[in-house]
Symmetry: C2
Subunit: 222 residues, 2 copies
């Protein structure tokens, strides 16, 4: 459909997936108006988009979250499966945690609010191409905050160094006996500490302890 438009090799190819046709065509016109961008494809749904050649060849994909049928979040996952080099930028009216973190998990490298101005949109795409991650400041803050360690509610629930060590062995699936060898304690000595871990984390099994340990960022998740 847009085969008439010529592209030379240092241009940035873009696809747009957005069900609102006004927004879609507005962006298309905007980007095609810039020398450095070519809009390869413009789609009203993920279903259409994934069938196309355009998304395989796009450097950047602007993706709405609130789409009929396959959601933008699911769509991002499919698209990054098809074209893992594509830089997916979500454009959403929502900014709840589920939308944001769901998108990011699905492979998006940027997250903008739909109210983004034309200049900001263009600058965001440029930023993405240069290796950055366009986000609104508020979303950036949310993302960074999600890394912050939780403080234990009660100070007595803070794990000791030895407990943290043992919790790590638990996460590796080691038995009492194996852990005892690692930390030079008797099997019952290890049990003693594990009981204490369970109390502090308010759990009753290894699996739960590991789960909570990761959620509280006591255990490494990365």
């Amino acid at each position: 459909m847009h085969n008439l438009i010529k592209k030379n090799n240092d241009m940035v190819t873009v696809s747009i997936i957005e069900d609102n046709i006004y927004a879609r065509t507005a962006w298309e016109t905007l980007l095609n108006g810039e020398e450095e961008f070519v809009v390869l494809g413009s789609f009203g749904s993920c279903e259409e988009a994934v069938e196309s050649e355009a998304i395989k060849k796009s450097d950047v994909i602007l993706l709405d979250i609130g789409l009929p049928g396959i959601s933008g979040i699911k769509g991002a996952e499919i698209i990054s499966g098809i074209n893992s080099n594509a830089l997916i930028i979500m454009i959403s009216i929502q900014d709840d945690d589920k939308s944001i973190f769901g998108s990011l998990q699905s492979g998006a490298i940027g997250y903008l609010h739909k109210s983004v101005s034309p200049e900001e949109l263009i600058e965001s795409i440029r930023l993405a191409v240069r290796g950055g991650s366009p986000m609104t400041p508020q979303i950036a803050r949310k993302v960074l905050k999600s890394f912050h360690k939780f403080k234990p509610e009660h100070e007595q629930d803070r794990l000791t160094d030895k407990e943290i060590t043992i919790l790590n062995y638990l996460a590796e699936g080691k038995s009492y006996k194996k852990i005892a060898e690692e930390v030079f304690l008797s099997v019952d000595g290890v049990k003693y500490h594990i009981r204490s871990i369970y109390e502090k984390l308010h759990v009753h099994s290894r699996a739960e302890a590991v789960n909570k340990g990761q959620k509280l960022k006591i255990l490494p998740v990365l």
Copy 2:
């Protein structure tokens, strides 16, 4: 030491912790030159800083990572314990994962490279105060990428929906029996799926499965 400088209430108070005295005084001079900022304290180490009143009263804290004694990462943790409202911005020459994610876990809300220009530094502090998270584009990308789901190495290792459901129950520490009740299967039916989960994740216990499930972002960590 800086008590001569007057502060009115809509000014942004800043403390600087940086062992290089040239960098430190340069920033101090820079910020004091701006009407909106007051540098309350300027320290060569975290040890000095945590003793001071300044960090308790600072809106923004510029914190070097490579400090002698208490590292910037540990320092960030202590400082956010003392003043949880402080906006901690790390300023580092390193940009390895450990420095970046360590800082973020310890409570930093921004991460800049030491080569930051004066204008960028000022703009970054403004951004932080406005609720954003100053980062270089490359760091932002690293951060966002850390959210991305891992694709299983082999397609046959992808967990089915039922397996994911059951893995979630495992993370909650439920027994075969409890899970069986939840998913309307026999105990051995649940076992069947758990065996399959173990094979796909290459583990041999619940704790390991949960750990891997979180690392692969199959299980929610947030």
